[in-house]
């Protein structure tokens, strides 16, 4: 072999040696797609096929059943209370954590994550111990004829607990990455705090906020464990959609159970679609503003530029 021949072939070898041979590539793709097909796609498809087993008429009949309908209404009501509560908390917590430095910040961040790692059953039990008949406030509530456990307020509380971190978790890294220069400029130019939030911060975080809300909503509507502890399973009164699914399933009304469950599966699919759309939009926006290799999720400490002394001059 001649010298130039060696140099070109070796440079080609370096390039291809940071890639796997085609057969390895294909089998890795094949194995992972097979795994995902088995574990993700099949269960999803099964929900809809089981729901449609007796035809579209039976599917609709299962959805307009009065018990199913009242479960749907209760689920909507629960989400309509729990999600806004967690949105307000998420925005407030993200503002405090992302825009300021203070002692115990990492403790606060960890506490926000806590509901993720607590078993939903343990969460439900905690609310029973606070508000149940044997609980701390039990006698007082009984005296005033208020019902929280085995009633709608308990369901809302349990749902809010389980979905508490979702909005905050979405906003904190986003707002940390954005820093607070724009807000500081607005304040210095005379804007009030609210004006700054509405006109500067909110437009910057709207997509992240929207995704947080959507995910929070999907989880709120689908929460099963914690809600099943505090609900008492009173038909037509304290059954949410997942609890209705459980009842139908346990009564061997499989088709009806899957029909009601398919509503939640549709909601999950919608959530994923919206997430992807938001992510793609965000990527495109980010590609314009930031170098592409800047990962948002990993930014933990604000990548803030040094404060500009000129701002107040």
């Amino acid at each position: 072999m001649s010298k130039p021949g060696i140099s070109t072939s070796s440079s080609r070898r370096i390039e291809s040696s940071t890639e796997e041979p085609a057969w390895v590539r294909r089998s890795l793709i094949g194995v992972s797609l097979a795994f995902l097909l088995l574990f993700l796609v099949l269960p999803l498809v099964a929900v809809f096929t089981e729901a449609m087993r007796k035809g579209f008429g039976a599917y609709l009949a299962a959805l307009v059943d009065p018990d199913a309908w009242s479960a749907i209404k209760l689920t909507l009501l629960t989400a309509a209370i729990a999600v806004p509560l967690n949105v307000v908390f998420g925005v407030a917590a993200a503002w405090a954590i992302a825009k300021f430095e203070f002692r115990g910040k990492s403790v606060l961040t960890t506490l926000i994550d806590l509901p993720f790692s607590v078993s939903p059953i343990v969460a439900g039990l905690a609310f029973v111990l606070v508000f149940g008949a044997q609980g701390w406030f039990g006698p007082w509530l009984l005296e005033h004829n208020l019902k929280i456990i085995f009633a709608v307020p308990g369901i809302v509380l349990a749902t809010a607990f389980v979905t508490l971190p979702l909005v905050a978790r979405e906003l904190i890294p986003l707002m940390q990455a954005q820093g607070s220069d724009e807000e500081q400029a607005a304040i210095v130019l005379g804007a009030s705090g609210w004006q700054t939030f509405w006109h500067v911060t909110l437009p910057n975080i709207k997509w992240g906020l929207l995704y947080g809300v959507i995910l929070c909503n999907a989880r709120a509507m689908g929460e099963y464990g914690a809600v099943s502890v505090v609900s008492g399973h009173i038909r037509g009164l304290t059954n949410t959609i997942p609890l209705q699914v459980e009842i139908l399933y346990n009564e061997y009304q499989l088709q009806a159970g899957f029909a009601v469950a398919s509503l939640l599966a549709l909601l999950a699919l919608l959530t994923l679609v919206l997430k992807s759309v938001i992510e793609w939009r965000h990527e495109r926006a980010l590609a314009v503003e930031l170098p592409p290799e800047q990962p948002l999720a990993r930014v933990s400490s604000p990548a803030r530029t040094t404060p500009t002394p000129l701002a107040s001059a």
């Binding site: 590539r25 917590a93 405090a96 506490l111 790692s117 992807s276």
Partner: protein
């Protein structure tokens, strides 16, 4: 010269305003006390006070009663099942999660974006729906179960079914923690390794793997922590036979339904302590990954 004039101005500003206003300028944004106060209030009311009742309830028991409650044979069996199945499921997710993350970051194939989006399905799909669906699939007449049954493999209503459900639940964690880190690994490192004569496998094992190891462990720990507390997807598929396929969250619920509040709280405290420990471990792992990724620059 721009640089010079900036310096002059900076000096001028520093001259008229010494240290005190400068410290104030750091909190030029309003709302610190309001937002922090509200966050703490909400967190305290909704999370900390309710969870603390568990400790108070358990502390009200005598030590012997507590030990008896948390170490009764039926309860011990649930620990073995819960932690054992969670560990196996998290290990399955460790292997396949890494594989999926690798394939999504490194290769191109048709439908990749859809696959990428679908990975989050277990986050969005309610656990009860996952539970009944997996049970239907793996049952005797299910799409998958009908082929396994003749082979003598029983997944539904058996401990193996718990592993399947927990694998489903934990699937996104490893993928989503490894993916961004893998994306950030500098191509130059691999090229250097290759040019020094390393094979592809050696490059992976000695260059790439150490770079993503903390993220991989973080995902593993998250999947494990999630699996330990999981209830909805498991109760449908497990069959819930005492000593064989009963999980710890279920035994808490059973004690609660028998009005054994103290016993339920005692077992809940055990789970809660495990949750705290996992949370601390995950935080430490994330800090390790951050140090690793920020160190070379």
């Amino acid at each position: 010269m721009a640089h010079g004039s900036t310096l002059a101005l900076r000096n001028g500003a520093g001259g008229t305003a010494p240290l005190a206003p400068r410290r104030k300028r750091r909190r030029v944004l309003p709302g610190f006390h309001l937002t922090l106060g509200y966050s703490l209030f909400y967190l305290g009311l909704l999370v900390l006070i309710p969870l603390s009742t568990l400790f108070f309830k358990a502390a009200g028991m005598s030590w012997d009663a507590f030990v008896t409650a948390v170490s009764a044979p039926r309860v011990m069996a649930t620990y073995r099942i819960t932690f054992g199945a969670s560990l196996i499921a998290a290990l399955i997710n460790l292997v396949f999660g890494l594989l999926v993350a690798w394939v999504l970051v490194r290769y191109r194939f048709p439908g990749k974006r859809i696959v990428d989006a679908l990975v989050d399905l277990p986050f969005a799909l309610p656990t009860a729906v996952a539970g009944i669906s997996l049970t239907a699939l793996l049952g005797r007449n299910g799409w998958v179960g009908q082929y396994l049954e003749p082979l003598g493999i029983k997944l539904a209503y058996a401990p193996a079914g718990i592993v399947v459900a927990l694998t489903f639940i934990g699937l996104p964690f490893v993928v989503r923690t490894v993916q961004p880190v893998l994306q950030d690994v500098e191509k130059e490192l691999e090229e250097a390794a290759a040019s020094l004569g390393a094979s592809r496998w050696e490059t992976f094992r000695r260059v790439l793997f150490p770079a993503i190891a903390p993220a991989l462990l973080t995902g593993f720990a998250m999947a494990f922590a999630r699996a330990v507390g999981e209830y909805g997807s498991v109760v449908f598929i497990a069959g819930n036979m005492p000593m064989i396929s009963e999980i710890t969250p279920l035994i808490i619920l059973i004690k609660l339904e028998q009005f054994d509040y103290a016993g339920a709280s005692a077992v809940a405290v055990v789970l809660l302590v495990v949750s705290f420990l996992m949370l601390l471990a995950i935080n430490a792992l994330q800090a390790w990954q951050r140090r690793l990724t920020s160190a070379p620059t």
